[in-house]
Symmetry: C2
Subunit: 362 residues, 2 copies
């Protein structure tokens, strides 16, 4: 697979978003977030998304010149209206605001409405952890998940991320969907002619199936846990909590009304809210005791868990965030591998909005 430097990818993506009307600084934010996803080994939230974002812009569903603004606030809380921005423009603005409030009063919590797909949640939480804060970030997403006992898709894969800094140990970052599997992995199984394991999806009658293509015929992804016996209601509760914090506080769309983040699927005409919603939080660790004490104790946590006896499945217990840090180191040194079809799509998208081959090469 062809590899590219982060700077090469950054430059290309910036050009595309500037051509679509973004300011230079906004284009740089979008590009940085997408390249960061690639660096962390999460290509589903990386370059693949450029085509979708541009498609949403062409349909008038993404605003490349947004006026992102605070519409309501207290000393430690705020609601931000994203003006249909790319989610990362709104997300970075909102997390910076949360951090600023935390500097002032110890913590900051910001809900966002009228937004779009915001990339990887862990990007935002690490903005906080780099300032000796705990970061929280979550977003709702278009409905693919059936709550326990539901035939209907009512929730997105609704990820949640959490970062806390260590002293000598690297930052702990948990960043996970509230489902056992992402849609992209089901599509991959289908392409490869594989069955999906039990506990991932149900058909239109609510019966579990191993057919990875069932989402196209009224099926749904199950919440984390799988079925009721295995406590899928707890996965449902987590997904619901993310949806409520992201949408109910801000006035974004919730559950089944969340707008799809691809141009070929239309938003629901009866959607009661504004765009897609996110929720961000930052808490100063020295709001509880001296930062040094917290970070040294976090090191001890990490070392204790890393030293647990491991099963035959793995060398050792994984500390959340470590695999992504290793990947980032590798890709920064050796370049980021990009699948040929993703690269081809990216170039086609660039040419499609009026950039020339010459633009791409300079």
């Amino acid at each position: 697979m062809q590899r590219y430097t982060p700077a090469q990818l950054q430059a290309l993506v910036e050009k595309i978003f500037i051509k679509a009307g973004c300011s230079g600084s906004h284009a740089a934010i979008v590009a940085d977030m997408l390249v960061s996803a690639e660096l962390r080994g999460i290509p589903s939230h990386g370059l693949m998304r450029v085509k979708d974002y541009i498609g949403l812009w062409q349909k008038g569903r993404m605003n490349m010149q947004p006026q992102v603004k605070v519409v309501h606030e207290t000393l430690s809380t705020a609601t931000v209206d994203a003006d249909m921005a790319p989610g990362m423009i709104a997300g970075k603005y909102a997390m910076e605001l949360a951090i600023e409030k935390a500097l002032q009063v110890g913590s900051g919590w910001v809900a966002v409405r009228n937004s779009n797909h915001f990339g990887i949640a862990g990007y935002y939480t690490m903005m906080a952890s780099s300032k000796d804060m705990i970061g929280f970030a979550m977003t709702n997403a278009n409905a693919l998940v059936a709550p326990t006992f539901s035939l209907d898709r009512m929730l997105g894969t609704n990820p949640i991320a959490f970062s806390i800094p260590g002293k000598e140990e690297p930052v702990f970052t948990a960043d996970f969907a509230t489902t056992p599997i992402a849609r992209g992995k089901l599509e991959l199984m289908e392409k490869q002619g594989k069955e999906s394991p039990q506990g991932f999806v149900q058909d239109k009658d609510g019966i579990q199936t191993t057919d990875p293509s069932v989402l196209r015929r009224g099926g749904a992804i199950l919440p984390l846990g799988g079925d009721y016996q295995h406590a899928s209601h707890k996965g449902y509760c987590m997904g619901a909590m993310v949806d409520i914090l992201s949408a109910i506080l801000s006035g974004a769309n919730f559950g089944p009304f969340v707008p799809p983040q691809v141009a070929y699927l239309d938003p629901r005409p009866d959607a009661p809210g504004a765009g897609l919603g996110h929720f961000f939080g930052a808490i100063r660790i020295d709001g509880f005791r001296p930062a040094e004490e917290v970070k040294l104790y976090m090191d001890k946590w990490i070392r204790t868990f890393r030293a647990a006896n491991a099963s035959a499945e793995a060398e050792r217990v994984v500390i959340p965030g470590e695999p992504e840090i290793a990947k980032e180191k590798d890709y920064k040194e050796n370049g980021i591998p990009v699948m040929p079809q993703v690269w081809a799509e990216l170039v086609a998208t660039a040419l499609g909005i009026g950039l020339s081959e010459n633009d791409l090469n300079n």
Copy 2:
């Protein structure tokens, strides 16, 4: 099964804790929390616990005359030292402090150390929701759970609760452990001679088993999700997040060091922190937009999810908190059923610390 009025149970539990040295107001708090657990249909966190609490007190591990106090704070954060109190004394104090901070600056976040078992997490979150706030509550617990790829028990069942008020609809309360099953249910399966379903427990070699007694022979409960293929690492992340927020910020014990909440199991001599830890949060819903708007929109969320088409397994999709509200209504009208052995233990505990039959009947 014999039924008792909430007032009867409240009076008996108060007498026991007063006899053990609690002030009248502290005894009333402990009793109210335990009776609330019974009313909500969670007897594992109700009267059954009295024997354990008294046992911890008799071993000098629970302080019935605690000086609970704030040891560090900012406008929106604080750490509370529980002075080895029964967890509900510290928990109620901490949640009241979080609510007070939220009234002042929009949100409040309180970490607690040096505490004990705190009852049902949802009790605290409903303290916040009754004041038009979102409530968060979580606690760590003694280690029974093996993280993904671990042979060792490193985490407790670490529950998390979340409440948000509706306008006409009842409060939404999710209150759930971050595991597919609680220890108590495994014990029940064992007593009934039943096998445990796949995906609940592993043996000492990390192999899944259906033997519900395996915890007594080096086994462990699995995180929510079950195995790695089914994304148990996401359940591990959730349990870890609860542990970190409860212990790392406050300086309580984390993971494998959390003291067991029964007198017959000793705390680890190498425990690096202070007691068990909790974490509480309160956010004013009008910190984001007018409370009325948020509550009406929450009603819409609840009605939308309730109206989802249901599978053959159930009449309809369950809104988190609804079953507990129905149970509470039933038990308030018809009395709380108490298992004969639980009642006998309660009476034996009371007599064992010097109350007389006469005391119990008046």
